[in-house]
Symmetry: C2
Subunit: 320 residues, 2 copies
């Protein structure tokens, strides 16, 4: 315990953690904010004075969150970092550094270490951040990857879930549903989009859609103590959701599937109109409804009927 | 994925992650530097402007690093945080915040979550830091706990492994060896001692002894590109090492056992003399040898004979 590891690659894999760390250190990306990378007891990072630090972590487990017969180790590694970057995006924060802790199945350890870190490192480079350390272990269990990230807020500070206001319009980036058909392995976390929106417009509340629109909307509503009314015909449905052939409607997929990793945000009507009239992003932004003072979430269908929208997305039940 | 959890306690355990997070949030310690705790996509922390951030992570695995028949969940939780605080101490950094990710064995999940976090929370309070978030999962595997910490450097910056100089005296806090007899479960990370030493004296290099004196000394020597000569009769040997009855000598225990979590540091002779003449800490500090320009580590025994000191402590081999 105590060694900080980071970085990756496709050379012959070294054996033994000290050898692995030496090899990692030669390959770690050097970014301005990383003062000291892997190899000491802790990494040293410079953040911008006066900017709050954002911290998040996500652990993924072989057999629970991923299956190495359905995804390559590089895809799994990339996703382990990407879901964390999506959490930073949800707060409109810029990623600075990541720590990566892994439990590696003995026998496959060296190959899995290098390949998963390969996938992560490519994404880290894309977002100009560094993998500054972590911890490597081997055991007789399945692959476990826990990534924690440090981000920093932009000049307007972090954007919370708890600050939606009645009358806000509810907007969403991209299209929703069917992510498990493939997008969940190669999505681009909406970091750039979140920073651009939060710097250019007065947003009120934001979350990333990881658990499903219905569930993540409820997170905003619960934290902000308000309600919402959505229009069924306004939900942007992905092609994957339209092509799903499992008896559930495309709309149901879009409402509940999860792992879209798009941004769901609220903003006063006049700001929303500006965003929609002159879209600032290269991806679509859609108005899907409004925040109400009456609590609860409601969906108005194409016939004008109003149904309660319950959170049927992913629930992190951990017992039972 | 995406929820930030933290804190703990001994109430009736809630089921379901959303319920768990609500319960955690009511109990999270409020420290000045925590602007936003568990419950949003990321936690928000304020660090001192101009002070570099320190980042470290350590993952511990049931059956590899701990055994729930030999330690309570609270002890395991406490240790998971304590080893990270020891890493910050080794850099002379002050702990600010921790993220805790857990994989909880199904059936024992709620009880293990609350008890391990109980142990952590007590230690976090002691060091005036916050558990600001993390990730909770359940699965059919063993208990996995990954803690990552954010610290900040003091006014003299972080203290590295790589800056020992020939002529430095080598000092160590406390006594060494036999930690597995009990100390490894209740040690106090030397955070306060490291801060006090680094602010009061001109230290050159520091590490915490997690892998064993012989191995951790080699980390300093390798990073600093120098050597060391130790005196066998100067090594402070713990009572646990003296009482061990396994055929290995007390000195061997002190040199190689690991998990002492004491500070090993180097400082110019005149600084070392000041520290030893007027000890600033409530725990003992011992001079155990000197840094040399000749590489390699050597031990002078009681008869004056010189033996090479090889790193026989814990090696993090992760494959084979």
């Amino acid at each position: 315990m105590g060694e900080q590891a980071g970085d990756h690659s496709a050379d012959a894999a070294p054996t033994g953690e000290l050898a692995f760390i030496r090899w990692l250190r030669r390959r770690t990306g050097r970014h301005l904010q990383m003062l000291l990378g892997p190899g000491d007891d802790a990494a040293v990072v410079r953040t911008t004075p006066g900017r709050p630090c954002l911290l998040a972590a996500d652990m993924i487990l072989e057999g629970v969150h991923f299956d190495l017969s359905a995804a390559t180790p590089a895809q799994v590694g990339r996703k382990a970092l990407a879901i964390n970057l999506s959490d930073l995006a949800a707060m409109a924060a810029r990623p600075v550094a990541a720590l990566v802790s892994v439990a590696l199945p003995r026998g496959r350890a060296a190959a899995l270490a290098t390949e998963t870190l390969d996938g992560m490192q490519a994404l880290a480079e894309e977002f100009h951040m560094s993998i500054v350390g972590g911890d490597t272990n081997s055991w007789d269990g399945p692959l476990v990857i826990d990534v924690s990230v440090l981000g920093e807020a932009g000049p307007n500070g972090p954007l919370l879930r708890s600050t939606a206001k009645p009358g806000d319009w509810i907007l969403v980036t991209g299209t929703l549903g069917g992510s498990r058909a493939g997008k969940h392995l190669d999505f681009t976390p909406r970091v750039r989009e979140a920073l651009l929106l939060h710097e250019g417009y007065h947003l009120h509340a934001m979350i990333d859609i990881s658990d499903g629109l219905s569930t993540d909307l409820h997170h905003i509503l619960e934290e902000s103590r308000c309600g919402a009314e959505l229009r069924a015909d306004a939900i942007p449905i992905s092609d994957a959701a339209k092509n799903a052939d499992d008896g559930r409607s495309p709309l149901e997929h879009a409402l509940h599937d999860g792992e879209d990793f798009e941004l769901l945000f609220t903003t006063p009507a006049e700001q929303a109109r500006e965003i929609l009239a002159d879209p600032p992003l290269r991806i679509p932004v859609s108005k899907i409804g409004k925040i109400t003072s009456e609590t609860g979430a409601w969906m108005v269908d194409n016939s004008g009927a109003r149904h309660e929208l319950l959170p049927h997305g992913w629930q992190h039940a951990f017992d039972g």
